[in-house]
């Protein structure tokens, strides 16, 4: 069994959801996503036993494109993140009803398919195809099932689509050039390329545009907040939980090893930019009035830190970035879900209009609290492991990077707690807030359980990721 | 100066003159007549080069068929008047500039390329009599030849269609 099974399963799942009809769609989608999760666990077990679960086959003869899927620790970690979050995201939407839900859930599964493909692809063109493929479902999800005024939504979503697409096109140009040099799109061939200084700069820059927009690194983030706000929560979760990580993952997998000298040369600028994103995101988040927008900016701050970790080019930085990607993926999904739970009951996301929920729903409050604490990286949660490692790597590069990047733990605490106070605490709200139901509780508990368990025992993820990162670093330092 | 050369110069001058007049005359009928003369002079060139087949085809197709067609069209549209408004001066100036430019460019090319031309070949073999051409056409170029006929057929159908459709709509 190799990783193609997983991809095929997700694709079948999408089709099956599409034909299952509106009533069954959500359940069928959940079933398939759970099976996919099980399958990826199985794949992980095989991988850990040393079986090669990658897949290589020729696809197009000219230009030479191969169906190459590579499964190393890094991609397995990201695939698991995707397949673990997908059922949670689907489950989280059970409280909502969608028009044409069969299309909706099919798109969700299709997106999972594309994202898994992106994480696995070991051939430049194949990777690019998956990369762009992932954009299509989220475009429709955000456009059709989003909330708020249609025109505004359209504006935001189209901006997002064109913006990210435009960025990716630079990457495509980069790949085209690489192909002309290497005669193949295969990852290993591209790794072997000896590019001149100037070539590295341009390749790096082309890739950087694509990733900086996707991640997003300031000042390329302007699409983010609006889309997060306008998209349905499921879409927001997919975007923030997994899709952003595509950019970060690609930095590690493609950008750094292919153009390492450029990465080394521009390291201070890149780290500086990323850390500026941390500060900027945190400060903007301070005064946000919309819950989802606040979370969007918090996400901007967090991924800024992750990107900074990536660009340190140290084992710790890259490892920490991967940890933090996973941790952030879970926690941000949880937080957006909390926002959604509130919205389901109060029909508003304006922070001013909320408050006094704690006395009505202690269970929800506790879970929300834990998520908030995880997002501010309290020790004992997996986010701390990630943030600690990333900050440590930054301090290895330059202690000031760590100091400035570390302000995220102060500012993060500030805006998150402020938000929590205004949303949850205070005099009992006049409106009735029902505590979470079973399916909502499952989502929360799963996320929290994950974060706490690996926060105390991060070794399994470490053991999975570390060898792959070391391999990539060997390529970078070749 | 051999008579051949004199003939050539005469023909060349005639060709260029008529071609120029074709473009220059205001009355389309005159243009057409000058064009016929131009075609005929070109036929003269062909004869001079001893390309009988092409010469005859030139006469029949161009001087005959095409020009008659054109004349018919002109008369059909009642264009035999000198009512054409001239283009703005800038355009005319541009046209002249382009004319000169193009001439210089093309002549330069050919002068440049003359250096790689070899000796004049004069094996004395018959290569352009109608008989030989016929063989070449129907052996080596059979398929393109047939396609030419299809092309003409299509053109014919197209023409009919183009002109007829209009009538129906009216």
């Amino acid at each position: 069994m190799d990783v193609t099974t997983l991809l095929i399963l997700l694709l079948i799942g999408a089709v099956a959801t599409l034909v299952s009809g509106d009533k069954l769609a959500s359940k069928v989608a959940l079933l398939f996503s759970l099976v996919a999760f099980g399958l990826s666990i199985n794949l992980l077990l095989q991988f850990n036993q040393g079986t090669d679960i990658g897949f290589v086959s020729n696809w197009i003869a000219n230009p030479k494109v191969a169906l190459a899927l590579k499964a190393d620790g890094l991609s397995m970690a990201m695939v698991l993140l995707t397949t673990a979050l997908t059922p949670l995201i689907i489950l989280s939407s059970f409280g909502n009803s969608f028009n044409n839900s069969k299309n909706f859930y099919a798109l969700v599964l299709f997106m999972a398919f594309a994202m898994v493909g992106t994480f696995l692809a070991a051939d430049g063109l194949l990777y690019y195809i998956f990369w762009e493929l992932a954009l299509i479902p989220i475009y429709f999800i955000a456009l059709i099932w989003g909330n708020g005024d249609v025109d505004e939504r359209k504006k935001a979503v189209v901006k997002f689509f064109i913006y990210t697409l435009a960025g990716s096109l630079f990457m495509l140009v980069g790949f085209a050039y690489l192909y002309s040099k290497a005669g193949s799109f295969l990852l290993e061939d591209l790794y072997k390329l000896e590019l001149s200084h100037c070539e590295q700069f341009w390749i790096f820059f082309a890739f950087f545009l694509a990733y900086a927009i996707k991640i997003p690194i300031i000042p390329f983030h302007t699409w983010q907040a609006k889309v997060y706000q306008k998209a349905p929560t499921v879409g927001t979760m997919l975007l923030s939980g997994i899709m952003l990580k595509m950019g970060l993952f690609s930095v590690i997998r493609w950008q750094l090893p292919i153009a390492p000298d450029a990465a080394k040369e521009y390291m201070p600028i890149l780290i500086g930019l990323s850390i500026a994103g941390v500060i900027y995101g945190s400060i903007v988040a301070l005064r946000q009035k919309d819950l989802k927008k606040l979370l969007a900016y918090s996400s901007l701050a967090h991924v800024g830190l992750i990107a900074a970790g990536c660009y340190t080019l140290t084992v710790d930085g890259l490892n920490g970035a991967v940890y933090q990607m996973i941790a952030h993926g879970f926690v941000i999904v949880g937080l957006f879900f909390a926002a959604e739970v509130i919205f389901r009951r109060f029909e508003t996301r304006k922070i001013d209009e909320l408050g006094g929920i704690r006395s009505q729903a202690s269970g929800f409050t506790s879970m929300f609290m834990i998520l908030v604490l995880a997002s501010v990286a309290l020790p004992g949660t997996y986010n701390f492991v990630g943030e600690f490692t990333v900050l440590y790597s930054l301090s290895q590069v330059n202690i000031w990077f760590a100091v400035i990047g570390g302000t995220t733990i102060i500012l993060g605490a500030y805006y998150m707690l402020k938000m929590f106070q205004n949303v949850m605490l205070g005099e009992t709200n006049t409106k009735v807030f029902k505590d979470v139901n079973v399916s909502e509780a499952i989502v929360f508990v799963a996320i929290i359980g994950f974060l706490l368990f690996f926060g105390l025992y991060p070794k399994p993820i470490n053991d999975l990721v570390n060898p792959a990162i070391k391999e990539i670093l060997a390529v970078i330092n070749r | 100066m051999s008579p051949v050369l004199i003939t050539f110069y005469f023909l060349a001058a005639f060709t260029l003159a008529t071609a120029f007049l074709t473009i220059y005359s205001k009355n389309p009928i005159h243009s057409a007549i000058y064009l016929v003369l131009c075609m005929v002079s070109i036929m003269g060139h062909y004869l001079l080069l001893n390309a009988q087949f092409v010469a005859i085809v030139q006469l029949i197709v161009y001087a005959g068929a095409i020009m008659v067609l054109m004349l018919f069209t002109i008369m059909l549209m009642n264009l035999n008047k000198e009512d054409e408004v001239h283009k703005p001066r800038i355009t005319r100036l541009g046209a002249i500039v382009v004319f000169i430019l193009m001439s210089i460019v093309l002549i330069t090319i050919f002068i440049n390329s003359k250096t790689i031309m070899g000796e004049y070949d004069s094996s004395g073999e018959d290569f352009q009599s109608i008989k030989v051409l016929g063989k070449v056409l129907l052996n080596e170029y059979m398929v393109p030849f047939e396609f030419a006929s299809i092309l003409l057929l299509v053109a014919m159908i197209g023409t009919v269609l183009l002109t007829k459709k209009e009538k129906d709509q009216k």
Binding site: Q421 | T91, V105
Partner: protein
């Protein structure tokens, strides 16, 4: 076996937390309180066991539980270290913790969320134990942040009141500023020595091959961490606000245990600080100034808990003064005695507040001596202790600090002495206003005045006894604590012979304290002075009453600009950046509409361009080459 016991010691409060959080609501309040208390008592008893064991064989107990975080140059395990220092801390944390749990059963009995209170309290004890028993800095950091979290939860325990929530938030965030310092300090140490384990750092530091500038920076960063947690200048403002929490919380977290974590950390890393004299000077100066500033603010506060809070800050300042002077044992000694009498004072004030149904303003108290005799006497003993009256516990510990200060720097000694005179004054002011003369509250309150129930008074009595005899652990002469801590602290002996100078200093300290008391007595008993209403306070006393406007200053300097910046970013920069992105679209649009004009349908023009193009191509292909 020891491993299991150590685990039990650590996890017992956590079990209590789990029980209370999940089942607390289903069982009765008594059971939930009992379980909460019992689990802490278990920890206390186990601490005693380990303590006894350590006393027997003198060998610290260290185990590694599991691998935790791994980075490139070192691996951190989750390890437990039970040595002299951590056991000492454990003893008084769990001991006082047990008493306060006991106290809370009665104190919080009317609160609907009592089970949560106990859950948080248990969680706090758990994190505090983690902080203390960890064998490396990172485990300490878990506890460090964990206690910060519990402090947040407990300060904001009455979450319906938004100002309380603000106070909780403030505490958490100011602590986090310190935590960042702690983190950075850890990073530097990790980068230097590739380890965070105490023993390994110690051997590496003492080997002495590290860059001293970096080492100093690390020490400074750690001290910033300590400043945050132990409420030192300039990060102390959260502690007075933290009094918003229930009184047992103030007693346990914000007086006896959590705030001493900074001192614990500095003591733990004493070998590091010993090598960085500059940082030690900074610590001493910060400590002295904090002691003075906080004491002066305490002089004029009217909220009974606020007075105690500033007193705590001031006492912590004295402890840091001692730390800065390298007298770690003295600081630890003062931590312990302070824990006894300050916990007692807080609990006593809690008892008063309980008796007055939530009244905290001393202007509305008075004459409670007769109604609440036990509370009065226990508090009186503690007040004498904190004022430094012979032979109570505070006398011995404070006196040692003053002696050490005198030995190093006379200026510091003067500052510390002034601070302790002020301490004597405001503490007696508190006692006089609360317990003497006639009652100034409403008639209804007067009617309901009563002594608190047994569960409240028993801990008070125990703590008062400890406040009397606590000084015995390090009496000049026996110096038991000194000897006990010798293995942990770098062997740096202060010569503690009792000479004339020492006796004179003791005398001066005692006289100072008595002066303070007499001053208070004159003002509040003889003259019967009652502090004025807020509006009537003018002049310098208004500045002091308003805490030197430090909070306002911070708001003006940090919070306001930050919010302004946020607003600026949100309303101006964000749309501007968005416009830049849209700018690309606009430019493309513009090019399109200009290009549209080129595509005007004029065939002549097309042909013209076409021919020119041909010329150009031909020129390029055939001529230019």
């Amino acid at each position: 076996m020891d491993t299991n016991l150590a685990l039990l010691l650590l996890l017992s409060p956590f079990v209590g937390f789990l029980f209370n959080i999940f089942f607390g609501k289903k069982v009765s309040k008594g059971i939930s309180g009992a379980i909460g208390t019992l689990t802490v008592v278990v920890s206390f008893l186990l601490s005693i066991c380990f303590f006894a064991q350590l006393n027997q064989n003198g060998k610290p107990f260290e185990i590694s539980l599991f691998d935790w975080i791994q980075v490139s140059n070192f691996k951190l395990d989750f390890g437990i270290l039970l040595d002299q220092l951590s056991l000492l801390w454990l003893l008084f944390v769990t001991g006082i913790g047990s008493l306060i749990h006991l106290y809370s059963i009665s104190y919080m009995h009317d609160d609907e969320n009592m089970h949560k209170f106990f859950a948080y309290l248990n969680l706090f004890v758990f994190f505090m134990i983690t902080l203390v028993v960890g064998n490396n800095l990172l485990v300490m950091f878990i506890g460090w942040e964990g206690v910060g979290l519990c402090s947040y939860l407990l300060i904001g325990f009455w979450y319906k009141n938004q100002p309380y929530n603000d106070a909780a938030k403030k505490a958490f965030i100011m602590n986090r500023i310190g935590d960042l310092g702690f983190l950075i300090g850890m990073f530097i140490i990790a980068a230097l020595f590739s380890t965070l384990n105490y023993a390994e750092i110690k051997s590496a530091v003492t080997a002495g091959d590290a860059n001293s500038a970096l080492l100093g920076l690390a020490a400074l960063c750690l001290f910033i961490g300590a400043c945050g947690k132990s409420a030192q200048l300039p990060l102390y403002t959260w502690l007075p606000d933290a009094m918003a929490g229930p009184t047992p919380v103030s007693a346990l977290i914000h007086a006896a245990t959590m705030v001493t974590a900074g001192i614990f950390m500095v003591t733990r890393m004493n070998f590091l600080f010993d090598l960085t004299p500059d940082v030690q000077n900074i610590i001493a100066i910060v400590g002295a100034i904090t002691a003075l500033v906080a004491a002066s603010i305490g002089l004029l506060q009217n909220d009974i808990k606020k007075v105690l809070a500033y007193s705590t800050v001031s006492q912590l300042g004295l402890m840091f003064l001692a730390l800065g002077l390298g007298a770690y044992t003295v600081a630890v000694f003062h931590v312990i005695t302070h824990a006894f009498f300050k916990a007692c004072l807080f609990l006593g004030s809690g008892s008063v507040i309980h008796g007055l149904h939530g009244e905290q303003d001393m202007r509305k108290m008075g004459g409670l001596r007769k109604a609440m005799p036990i509370t009065f006497w226990t508090m009186m003993i503690s007040t004498l202790a904190i004022a430094g009256i012979f032979p109570f516990a505070g006398f011995w510990s404070k006196d040692e600090i003053l002696m050490v200060a005198f030995g190093h720097n006379k200026a510091l000694w003067i500052v510390a002495s002034i601070a302790s005179i002020m301490t004597a004054f405001y503490m007696f002011r508190l006692m006089y206003l609360t317990f003497f003369r006639e009652f100034r509250g409403t008639e209804e309150q007067k009617h309901h005045l009563h002594e608190s129930p047994k569960l409240i008074t028993i801990p008070l009595v125990i703590l008062a006894v400890l406040a009397v005899i606590g000084g015995a652990i390090n009496l000049p002469g026996s110096m038991w604590l000194n000897h006990f801590l010798e293995p942990v602290l770098a062997a740096k002996h202060e010569a503690h012979h009792l000479g004339t100078q020492e006796f004179i200093l003791m005398g001066i300290a005692l006289v100072g304290a008595i002066v303070g008391i007499i001053w208070a007595n004159a003002k509040y008993i003889k003259q019967g002075f009652v502090p004025k209403e807020d509006a009537e306070i003018v002049g310098f006393s208004k500045t002091i009453y308003n805490k030197y406007y430090v909070d306002e200053f911070y708001t003006f300097l940090i919070v306001k600009p930050l919010n302004g910046l946020s607003n600026f970013f949100r309303t101006t920069l964000e749309p501007a950046l968005g416009k830049v992105v849209y700018g690309f679209g606009t430019v493309a649009n513009g090019i399109g509409s200009q290009g549209k004009k080129l595509q005007n349908g004029n065939i002549g023009l097309y042909l013209f361009v076409f021919v020119l193009g041909i010329c150009a191509i031909i020129t390029y292909l055939f001529i230019a080459q």
